[in-house]
Amino acid sequence: MTSLLLSMVARMLLPPALLFAAYLFFRGHNLPGGGFVAGLMTAATIMLQYVATGRARVYAPVDARRLIGWGLALAVMTGIGALIAGQPFLTSVFGHVEIPLLGHVEASTASLFDLGVFLVVAGVTLTILLAIED
């Protein structure tokens, strides 16, 4: 039940949609977006490929189950990082750096935690999708 038109459109949408997910992730700390939404967006992109072409695994090159593990590990490590620095678990630190071309950029450990959230959300959704696909 795959239609040519749909699969063409889906394929063309893949790069901008993933880019949009990345955009959502990076603007998240200051504007609507963030790891959770970006994770859902990524999963939705891959789902679109599945609905259009009947294949999803091709578009999920990494094992989705591993994404969950890495995401959780990253989130916990962020917390432990604070412990090692002598702060209570999950205390976040942030600072501002100037990067050529990009200009003023903010770096915070909370972003790493958000990356963990992103990986878990994307991983969970894709795991379920792939489990159903097989």
Partner: protein, 786 residues
């Protein structure tokens, strides 16, 4: 300092994490790596603990969750020092032994990883300065010992032994956690140093008996005290290096360690005296009797360990300083001779191919050196001079004498039945002497047994650890003041919380203790001689039903009960599950609503003023109601599944529009994406279901379901209405004010998620991950079934 203290348990733990992927190191490289890390940790421990020798405890605190009293507090005092030396010193010997004992074909990376994990957990227990932290490491020893006991996982005996030890010590761990929580919340701190400083105040707390009782259950299960002792013999299915490590010097000593740690707090209570002394004495006798009953060499040693642990427990229970010194000294001695004996049992098994007394005997002609080594270690266990076991046994006898009990809370017992404890002590020694003779004579003397393989002396590397320990037994026995006294002084002073001066000497003069020693040894020899003729055939009678059988009965009853209950409510019908969950929710919400409305149900405050509802344009309200009603009708009346799901998706989209209208762009984004993703997933699942729902439901069922749905819907609406109209101080002001300043983020919603309430998010993503694994398992199981 802080970091090096923390590294003591962490170093072996890091190695444990690396080992599973280090199979290339091979059967020589793996023990070498373990030995290197253990030596490094030992050096570190000695450096860190230097002040402990002069009586100063070293502490370091890293906040973990300070609000709950849970800190990574590490404490190294004399008692920790004694255990650090035991864990790492004997650990090094065990690694050497295992290098020669285990065949290169075994799954060695797993073995050494579990062993190092266990070592790390034990180091954690003895350096923990916070009771909650101690419980964490305590549980870690249960888990790692489960892995070690069940190492030969093809063997059903190993599996059941591992389960048994896990369940028994796991139950004990739960009791310990409960006891620690009761103690900590009553005393207001979990810090061991702070607790020890406030002993008198804690002993007067009304919650003290509950806390102490629960903690004792934890200590008794771990240290194999009656009636929880049965897991230790079952755990003998473990490889011998494991038995030699866990069941001589470490795991089973964890409970003893806890008793020593809590000694300054509780030893002056009657409950402590009667419970700890009583169970310790009973364990000593039951263990000694059991050691006479079994024909397996390792089982004999397991029961003798139980008996010796009972002796140490009993000594800590008596509560006098002399008794505590004797107990502390015996910990060291028992670790040395018992580790040597376990390793010897492994060597005998390795060389003769059996460890059953029915097939052993006469080995002195084949293993002359082992005969001497085992003879020395067993003589030390029996308390024969001039070995170290004799010294601590003398102190043990002295501590049971009424004259020495005058200052303990058990003085009353000492006055009314002055003979009771000394008689128990001599009885325990009699049994010890008898089983030690049985061990040595049954293995090495008499005619040759029908060995499955021809025995010869083991490789030097395998025998070296035993030789070292046997030498230690002799050296401490001959020169106690030089070798053991500084360490025991430090450790015992830390136990009792005051400076004590033990005088360890081989010759104490002709005193009652020496007479008791002589009686015990003679009676033991006579007991053995009386039974010798029939030593291989008949065994002494069993003491009623064994605890192990009661355990089996209890486990079976529990499994049957659980199965019956589960089959009742997990019947595989989605309707039952939904109704159970929603019905429970309804009952809970209803109870709270009742409390708010009806004063009789416990309402204390008058109903507060209501918040005004936000104005919604009438047109929007009508559209919403129509959409919801339409979607509900489609779901209820239409038998095709697709339209129902799309209709529900429409309602979700409507919610997103409301969020947009209320200026919550983050929620709109999330709601829309969640709605799309779940709709797609559900549609994909539909592929596996019949296209239409079941044609005909009985009318009664329909009415019942409909009524239930209406009640649930109405209550949910009522609850939401009540919550929305409740006046409350909004915390959003704080978040908005601090978001940019405190967390450097302009998006308050995101800052709340990843920073202010980061802990909640961590919990949520964990739940999400578990749910995904559940879905995965369900889908795969469903596929296998079809």
């Amino acid at each position: 300092m802080k970091l090096s203290l923390l590294m003591i348990p962490v170093l072996p733990m890091i190695l444990a994490g690396l080992l599973p992927g280090a199979g290339r190191l091979g059967h020589r490289g793996l023990p070498l790596a373990c030995g290197a890390v253990a030596s490094l940790t030992l050096l570190l421990a000695l450096r860190v603990a230097a002040p402990a020798f002069s009586g100063h405890a070293v502490t370091a605190t890293i906040p973990w969750a300070p609000a709950t009293g849970l800190n990574l507090t590490f404490l190294v005092d004399g008692l920790s020092l004694l255990f650090l030396l035991l864990i790492l010193g004997i650990g090094l010997l065990i690694i050497t032994f295992a290098r020669f004992y285990l065949s290169p074909d075994e799954n060695l990376p797993r073995f050494y990883a579990s062993l190092m994990l266990f070592m790390a957990a034990m180091l954690g227990i003895v350096t923990a300065g916070n009771l909650l932290l101690l419980v964490v490491f305590w549980e870690l020893t249960s888990i790692s010992s489960f892995l070690l006991i069940g190492f030969w996982d093809r063997d059903p005996a190993a599996r059941s032994g591992a389960y048994q030890s896990l369940i028994v010590t796991g139950i004990g761990g739960l009791a310990l956690l409960a006891g620690v929580l009761v103690l900590g919340s009553a005393a207001g701190t979990f810090d061991i140093t702070a607790l020890a400083a406030r002993g008198a105040e804690i002993r007067a707390l009304p919650a003290m008996p509950i806390a102490l009782g629960l903690i004792l259950v934890g200590a008794f299960t771990k240290s194999a005290q009656v009636p929880f002792h049965f897991w230790l013999p079952s755990a003998m299915a473990a490889p011998t290096p494991v038995s030699a490590y866990l069941h001589s010097a470490t795991m089973v000593k964890a409970g003893i360690f806890l008793l020593a740690r809590l000694w300054p707090i509780f030893a002056a209570t009657e409950l402590w005296f009667y419970a700890v002394t009583g169970f310790g004495a009973a364990t000593m006798l039951v263990g000694g009797w059991g050691a006479l009953r079994h024909t397996d060499l390792k089982r004999l040693l397991a029961y003798s360990t139980i008996s010796q642990l009972g002796l140490i427990t009993m000594l800590y229970g008596i509560g006098t300083r002399e008794a505590a010194i004797a107990a502390t000294f015996h910990i060291l001695n028992h670790a040395s001779f018992k580790a040597a004996l376990f390793m010897s049992a492994g060597i005998i098994d390795h060389e003769a191919g059996t460890r059953d007394f029915a097939q052993l005997g006469g080995l002195r002609r084949h293993l002359p050196r082992m005969t001497i080594l085992v003879g020395l270690a067993a003589a030390s266990m029996a308390g024969i001079p001039p070995l170290n076991g004799f010294l601590s046994k003398e102190l043990f006898y002295e501590a049971t004498l009424p004259a020495h009990m005058a200052e303990s809370v058990g003085a009353g017992l000492g006055a009314s039945w002055p003979w009771l404890l000394p008689v128990v002590a001599v009885l325990g020694s009699t049994l010890t002497m008898a089983y030690c003779l049985r061990l040595v004579v049954g293995t090495f003397f008499g005619p040759d047994g029908p060995y499955p393989q021809h025995p010869h002396e083991p490789p030097a590397g395998m025998r070296a650890p035993v030789e070292l320990l046997a030498t230690f037994c002799v050296a401490v026995g001959l020169l106690p003041a030089l070798i053991a006294e500084p360490l025991i002084t430090t450790a015992a002073s830390a136990v009792v919380g005051a400076h004590v001066h033990p005088h360890l000497a081989l010759w104490h003069g002709l005193n009652p203790a020496l007479v008791m020693s002589a009686i015990g040894l003679t009676a033991g020899a006579l007991l053995y001689a009386a039974r010798r003729g029939s030593a291989r055939q008949t065994l002494p009678p069993r003491l009623g039903r064994t605890a192990s059988e009661l355990y089996d009965v209890a486990i079976h009853a529990m499994m049957d009960g659980a199965r019956t209950l589960t089959n009742r409510y997990q019947n595989g019908r989605l309707r039952t599950y939904v109704m159970t969950i929603l019905g429970l929710l309804l009952a809970l919400a209803g109870w709270h609503a009742l409390q708010g409305i009806w004063p009789g149900a416990g309402a204390t405050t008058p109903p507060p003023a209501r918040m005004p509802m936000t104005d919604v344009p009438r047109g929007a309200l009508v559209i919403t109601l129509l959409t919801v009603a339409g979607a509900a009708s489609v779901c209820a009346l239409y038998r095709h599944r697709w339209p129902s799901i799309l209709a529900l998706g429409l309602v979700g989209a409507l919610v997103a529009i409301y969020f947009a209208w209320l200026s919550a762009p983050d929620l709109v984004l999330t709601q829309l994406l969640v709605e799309s993703v779940t709709t797609i997933l559900v549609v994909l699942v539909l592929y596996y279901l019949p296209r239409k729902t079941r044609a005909r439901e009985p009318r009664r069922r329909l009415i019942l379901d409909g009524a239930f749905a209406l009640v649930i819907g109405a209550s949910a609406s009522a609850v939401i209405y009540a919550i929305l109209r409740r006046p409350f101080e909004s915390i959003s002001g704080y978040h908005i004010a601090n978001s940019l300043e405190g967390a450097g983020g302009g998006n308050v919603v995101n800052v709340i998620l990843v920073d202010f309430r980061g802990y909640d998010t961590l919990g949520e993503i964990t739940v999400l991950s578990i749910a995904a694994l559940g879905v995965l398992a369900l889908v795969q199981a469903g596929r296998r079934a079809t």
